[in-house]
């Protein structure tokens, strides 16, 4: 069974807050759900499937389902860190194709910025680096002692990629430069100033070889996506965005003999999604690529097949990711590097901006002309230890 054409994106919503003082986390989830319902033209009681991950307060999907007063016949709280919500779109399409639900809600929200470390850690379940008090997480005792963080575990990936392929800090910096060119047009973006390669290289070193500007922002906020059946999609007064392919895969060192930090799980999730969709990387008019760090983007672009392995540095340089300038417009909302990274998890905003592009509703300065095919891809957990990759390919009908 394929999900191709069996489900559509009915509604999306990105919360405008970046520092949610005075909000509760459940409230943020619910406001995102409400926004996505209004965007779709649906009401709460239409929802019969709910998808959330570790940022949703409470026990799996149940606390938030109860808080929002949902009556469900399908729920899924698969946790793959920041990529969860891209994976959920694929799972929602599967559930709809199987007749298990017809209006599926996906939410993400959290407040790591205003809670200053007291919030839900993103991409960092129990046992992830660092800390972790769960002694039965299998790798905990052998890894959490070494001061691993997102910065330095991604730094390790960048260092190895540079060693094997000659990738440079200048090339990585171009990814941030492209994101900043897009963010200048987004009134909600945290960082709207256009930066140069030199600005990135002159920003403080955080974890070698990554500078501060190689890192995404820390923000509050959230988002929601509503996935619907073809019958429901027909009844909505919105542009039709069809889900045509999805893929997912975990990757880890698997006993230490499989350690290779130069590629991500996108080498599996990407081809699976492209095959199901019957399209190629070169067909994509727009790409939402998870940008927790610049190196995350570079590796995923290679692994998804936009260029050969090891040639990502050349591919991203000289503005090739800037809308209207380069061949692969990416993250036209400014992405995690400049716009937001709600609850330290960027997956849902990747889906939302891809949907805006396919509907023709992106900012006019960054809208890709005749954008009819787009990909949203994410990595959750840590690229440097173990992570979950998720890919969704969507088409405007």
């Amino acid at each position: 069974m394929s999900i191709k054409g069996k489900a559509y994106i009915g509604g999306v919503f990105e919360h405008p807050t970046r520092e949610a003082i005075g909000y509760s986390t459940p409230q943020l989830h619910a406001e995102c759900a409400k926004g996505a319902l209004e965007d779709a033209g649906l009401s709460k009681d239409d929802i019969d499937g709910y998808f959330c991950a570790g940022d949703a307060p409470g026990f799996g999907a149940m606390s938030m389902a109860d808080y929002m007063g949902l009556k469900l016949r399908h729920m899924d709280s698969t946790e793959t860190g920041g990529s969860s919500y891209i994976l959920h779109v694929g799972h929602a399409a599967e559930a709809i194709a199987a007749g298990k639900c017809s209006v599926a809600l996906v939410t993400l929200a959290g407040r790591p910025r205003s809670m200053r470390g007291g919030g839900m850690g993103g991409g960092r379940g129990p046992g992830g680096p660092p800390g972790g008090g769960f002694s039965d997480v299998p790798e905990a005792g052998f890894e959490n002692i070494y001061g691993g963080s997102t910065h330095n575990t991604y730094g390790m990936c960048a260092a190895r990629h540079m060693y094997e392929y000659g990738t440079t800090s200048e090339q990585l910096a171009w990814i941030k430069v492209a994101a900043s060119h897009h963010a200048q047009w987004n009134e909600h973006a945290m960082l709207r100033e256009v930066v140069t390669v030199e600005d990135v290289l002159n920003s403080p070193m955080i974890a070698t070889p990554l500078h501060r500007m190689d890192c995404c922002v820390i923000s509050d906020g959230g988002g929601a996506v509503i996935v619907v059946s073809p019958e429901v999609a027909k009844s909505l007064n919105r542009p039709k965005v069809k889900i045509i392919g999805a893929g997912e895969a975990p990757k880890g060192p698997r006993g230490g003999n499989d350690l290779d930090l130069t590629y991500s799980g996108a080498v599996w999730s990407g081809p699976a999604a492209f095959e199901e969709a019957g399209v190629k990387p070169a067909d994509m008019k727009y790409a939402s690529i998870y940008d927790s760090f610049t190196i995350t983007v570079l590796m995923q672009i290679e692994d998804l097949g936009f260029c050969k392995k090891g040639e990502g540095g050349k591919f991203v340089a000289d503005g090739n990711l800037i809308s209207g300038v380069g061949k692969l417009p990416f993250n036209t909302d400014g992405g995690g590097l400049c716009n937001n990274h709600p609850t330290n998890r960027g997956g849902i905003t990747k889906v939302i901006e891809a949907v805006r592009q396919l509907r023709g509703e992106a900012h006019p300065k960054v809208q890709v002309p005749s954008c009819d095919l787009a990909i949203a891809h994410g990595t959750g957990g840590s690229l440097g230890t173990r992570h979950g990759a998720a890919t969704v390919i969507m088409e405007r009908e």
């Binding site: 002694s135 052998f142 002692i145 730094g155 390790m156 990936c157 260092a159 955080i206 350690l259």
Partner: protein, 135 residues
């Protein structure tokens, strides 16, 4: 950059989490012995140590003492911290790679491919943990 001269000596390492499966490893660490697991059926060594072989799914992996020698696969020097420190992976001569810290060295001189040797570093109220220094 003078702050790269700092070593991880100043970064205090918390006690490792210990469960029934890992206890023999940490008991040996207290005696200064570094153990890895090698499968008694397929013969492949793995890291971190498990009761079940992640390659052939046999329940016969056996503890084996390792000299703790290998090369740096990758590393990152962390400056977003009170004390800079180096985290990275070492590929042991037996084959598996393991996450660790690099200590007792000039952090700015670390190189991928460099040979390193294991030592145990004390932790706060727990077993000492394996770290590596240039061989």
């Amino acid at each position: 950059m003078t702050d790269t001269q700092a070593t991880t000596q100043a970064r205090r390492i918390p006690a490792p989490a210990v469960n029934n499966e890992s206890k023999p490893f940490w008991d040996a660490a207290k005696e200064g012995r570094f153990l890895i697991k090698r499968c008694g059926d397929c013969g492949k060594p793995h890291w971190y140590p498990r009761v079940i072989c992640p390659y052939c799914f046999s329940l016969n992996p056996k503890w084996e003492e390792s000299p703790g020698e290998g090369v740096i696969y990758t590393f990152s020097v962390m400056f977003h911290s009170n004390v800079p420190y180096a985290i990275g992976y070492v590929t042991l001569d037996e084959g598996p790679s393991m996450l660790t810290n690099f200590v007792d060295c000039d952090l700015s001189a670390l190189k991928i491919g460099q040979r390193v040797k294991l030592r145990f570093q004390p932790t706060e109220n727990g077993a000492p943990v394996p770290v590596f220094a240039p061989a």
